[in-house]
Amino acid sequence: MRDGGWLLPILATGALIALWKAGVTLGGLSPFVLPPPEAVLAASLDLLARPATWAHLGSTATACLAGFAIAALVGMGLGILLARVPWCDRAFYPLVVAFQGVPKIALVPLFILWLGFGMATRIAIAATIALFPVVVATRSGLRAAEARHHDVLRLMGARPGQRLVLVDLPGLLPHLLTGLEIAIMQSFAGATVAEFLAGRSGLGHLVVVSLQELRVAEAFGVVLIQSALGLCFYALVPLLRRLLLPWQAAAVQRY
């Protein structure tokens, strides 16, 4: 953090919470519409004290991470295929782009039809949503491999395998990590939506149940827990970036 360190963001967050509190007490909003901040905090602490909540959290994390892992593996495979086999790229890349236009959430009923109301459906949805950014990142990362670096290795008599390891893969990594960063958040969003619609467990399911039973503060509390989990996932990729890309001082360009 530059420019005033942590002070400004903390002040801004405090101001928003104060505004929230003021809206509830002075604005006369019903706690069924918007519970006060302290009630939400108390509800989330209460939730965290219950083992059942942790089971839901584990279920969500499983769907998200499994979906992400599948998207990462399949996405890299497809991206390599598109980047390396020209006729595949010509034939399938337009399809990949067209598929991006499909609102993947709209596919949830189909996945329920095919896979039922269990974990498989949630993983499949998370994977489907997270797939595209990985494919695109892998494809463009490999295509960006610079001819000028390949020139240098050809001069040294490097074999294709050596060029793959020394030029293509390290050059791909920054692009790939950007794709994975997007993919893990997409996967989390996909898993959550699937839990709304097809869940018997998971934090998304817990939100729906809380609202059905009119425990609004608890529903907000779950959202708070979801946000914390999302932040943990989001922190994962920059951590990987620092481990894998020590040579890259500044952040890479974003898609």
């Binding site: 020139d151 001069l155 040294m156 008599g157 020394l166 030029v167 050059g171 020590p246 040579w247 890259q248």
Partner: protein, 239 residues
């Protein structure tokens, strides 16, 4: 026999708007251990010539023959072309790594090469943290690591500031003498060519052909070749 014998060499690039004759036909013999500078207007195919000699591009017609059969060729480009994900020692030792030299021997040799070009203490720096001059030193060391029979320099210092460039040129002269390699230097700076080369080959505009060849007499009485350089400069302006 000449270290490099170039016969009827031409190269036609396939640009989007059609074929572009970039070079030749060109005939040139370069003796073993000779330092030859190639100068000419921009776009005259100087870089193309080096890429053809290096085997990075294929000639459209003509041949490049080497006395040494398959010589070791080291090349330095205008941009340093260091791999950003390897540190300085890793980049300098890259030719050895590709040749399968064991890690310990590689590291020792890379350290020695770094010291030769004035990069001692920078072995574990990332390329992104080097200045332009430092990065070009690393690129030079990497070319030296190939123990080259032929050293191809494609405007190696063109992107550097004048002071750094002058110092790098002075050092390069020492390196050339020490290595005993056949050196082909492409430049658009006449003073650079005159300071380094035994012979200066002047190319015409595109497609590049030999306009004239001037032999420098640095060791002779009256040492300087000022008259010749002025003459060449006039010739270049006309080309």
């Amino acid at each position: 026999m000449a270290a490099i014998a170039i016969r009827g060499l031409t190269r036609v690039h396939q640009a989007a708007w059609g074929p572009v004759a970039a070079l030749g036909p060109l005939d040139l013999d370069i003796a073993s251990g000779e330092v030859v500078a190639v100068i000419g207007p921009s776009g005259c195919g100087k870089s193309t010539l080096l890429r053809l000699i290096a085997g990075l591009d294929a000639p459209t017609t003509g041949t490049v023959a080497f006395a040494a059969g398959r010589p070791r060729i080291g090349m330095v480009f205008q941009d340093n072309r260091l791999l950003p994900w390897l540190d300085v020692a890793g980049n300098v030792g890259l030719p050895l790594r590709i040749a399968g030299v064991p890690r310990a021997a590689r590291a020792a040799r890379a350290r020695a090469l770094c010291a030769d070009v004035g990069l001692a203490g920078f072995e574990d720096h990332w390329p992104a943290t080097l200045s332009g001059g430092m990065a070009q030193r690393a690129a030079l060391a990497r070319a030296f690591a190939q123990d080259p029979d032929i050293l191809l320099l494609d405007e190696p210092f063109a992107a550097l500031d004048a002071i750094t460039r002058a110092r790098m040129n002075a050092e390069l002269r020492g390196h050339c003498r020490r290595l005993g390699a056949t050196v082909l230097l492409v430049t658009h700076a006449l003073d650079e060519a005159a300071a380094l080369a035994d012979r200066i080959v002047v190319l015409t505009g595109r497609p590049g052909q030999v306009a004239r060849i001037a032999r420098m007499h640095k060791a002779g009485p009256g040492g300087t070749s000022d008259g010749l350089i002025a003459d060449l400069a006039r010739g270049l302006a006309d080309a």
